[in-house]
Amino acid sequence: MTTTTTTAATAPVLAPVTAPAARRRRRSLAPGRRLPASRLVGPALLLAVWAAASAAGRLDPGAVPAPWTVLRTGVHLWTDGTLTTDILTSLQRAGAGFAIGLTAGVVLALVSGLSRVGEALIDGSVQLNRAIPTLGLIPLFILWLGIGETFKIAIIAIVVYIPIYLNTHAALSGIDHRFVELAEVQGLSRLAFVRQIVIPGALPGFFVGLRLGVTGSWLGLVVLEQINATSGLGYLMFQAQNYGQSDVILVGLLVYGVFGLVSDSAVRIVERRVLSWRRTLSN
């Protein structure tokens, strides 16, 4: 026992002396360890350049106001309550549309992925729906649903459900046939098969769809609120355009950006938790 420990302890010390060439490591092709707070480095640099250019008087304050002007306007809009109301309205629209789109996408993908009849009924129709740019449906939806909230939520739901459906369905139909065979051998019921094999197997695809869907919901929101709205962030920015208030427009853009970043990070965090069994390049 003691002899083995001593040789094990001395070997790594001796090896570089006796055979230095053999110990040279190959160059790693993986991107390597992550930089701390790597996702904030780029935006912070951008902000610094913007602030420096404003301070040096290189930017026309009417077109690109200084960061502190934007901040002051933001605080002002927030304290007088305009911004909060607009943010809440926008969040409600995006949230409702996203929830409906998410549910529809997942349910349709499951029905179409798990039964041949479902596939025949659903898949072709969704593929057709995908071919039509959703924002092109706006005039028709205004005629059908009026210009209120319903049509906005409906459009956002459609923008969201398509990527979620497509990616989840692709993942469902791509489940390894060997796992289906395993489920048969292990005597799994249909429900247990769906819960323990189909759903976990389709989750990576679902998350790809989810992230596209989240981005889509903000995109839909911006377009809808700038076309036809009397409230919401987009409306705030549209009004600001009429009055030449570029600082208000920038506040609106900033809020949209924060929405997008926060929601995408939330999805990423959930994804990393749920798919912790995956060992990929990113960890």
């Binding site: 060997r178 395993l182 048969e184 051998v185 292990q186 005597g187 976990p200 197997g201 989750l203 069994w277």
Partner: protein, 244 residues
Amino acid sequence: MAPHTEQLTRPAVSLRGLTRSFDGRTVLDGIDLEIPAGQFTALLGHSGSGKSTLLRAVAGLDHEVTGSGELVAPERVSVVFQDSRLLPWRRVLDNVLLGTDGKEAAAKGREALAEVGLAGRERSWPGELSGGEAQRAALARSLVREPELLLADEPFGALDALTRIRMHGLLRELWERHRPSVLLVTHDVNEAIVLADRVLVLEGGRIGLDLTIDRPHPRSYSDPLLGEYRERLLAALGVTEDHQ
């Protein structure tokens, strides 16, 4: 209700005129076979000889295959595949417990993992196991169900030679402790001779040779008496050792 003694002597697997064909090509041509309960049987054959087809028929996995014949197999059948087929999103213990339920299941799963030498790896992900360890986990998964019949489709085919030898010992040991009937499909003559008490050779869709190997266990790969069996099996497979 059948009396208990009859249960013991009843064959575990019974095939009568089992025929299977793919696209008009007959792969199994009227196979008659009985495997007594508790027997360790190996099934040899060339690739494409239909040995996997036979195993899949017994396992009940040949849904869209045309065929006829009678087939009797026990209720509790476990299958070990060539790949470990562990679900990558479940930890090792949860993989072993796939398809089982009840309160004692987890304890049984741990026990089975300990039996295959994987105690302490319950919480590992399948991606963290080596090929041999993954195949051990697959063995544990098949054991947990306390099978009356264990079907193994080239279970060691993807392992390296050293791991394979270790797995041979493990499989035989597990068989001796639990005594399921075993049908081991393999193309490795030595594997069949070392492990099984009866070796079948599938040739032209029929059982070409049915050989009982009456040698004590554990058997050595270099046992000269096994050489005679090897030659008979190789001859039945149409291989002649010209270099000898």
